[in-house]
């Protein structure tokens, strides 16, 4: 019962990935693609938590924390690059 509902949730997160990929190919600008990168990162944090439930190991949640920190820094660096104020 629970595994069925969580499998449906995983499929919905993959649909979210595919819709974001459509905007990545069609987006006319670098800033649009950066928004896509941000949304994919946030979705992948949820996906990592779901995989941690399926494998039943708590150690997988550390990767979500590391990933959230470093992608936050990456988005800020890309924004500063677009603004021509990087270093």
């Amino acid at each position: 019962m629970i595994n069925t509902i969580l499998t449906i949730a995983t499929v919905l997160i993959f649909i979210s990935f595919i819709l974001s990929g459509y905007r990545f190919f069609k987006g006319p600008d670098t800033a649009n693609r950066t928004v896509t990168f941000d949304v994919m990162t946030i979705s992948s944090i949820g996906l990592i938590a779901l995989i941690a439930h399926f494998a039943n190991r708590i150690i997988y949640l550390d990767i979500a924390i590391v990933y959230g920190l470093l992608s936050f820094m990456a988005v800020i660096i890309i924004a500063k690059y677009l603004e021509k104020e990087l270093f």
Partner: protein
Amino acid sequence: MNMTWIALIIGLIMLIMAFAAIYAKKLAVAIIAAGVVSLLASILYLTLAAPDVAMTEAAIGSGLSTIIFFYAINKIRKQSHD
């Protein structure tokens, strides 16, 4: 639970994003696509039950290499304007 289908779908999206990184016109778009490939590779290592490799990939491949690539092409852009 069997997680092979998650690995299959992640591999397909990784392949599409790798082609996007090759055929992109602008350099910044190629770097962002490489970051997405590295993110999906991290989740793929996680489904193959290797959390230490996944953490290394998330820290170095997606975070640090994206930042260093943007720093490098920012230096190139400054020098070409001078």
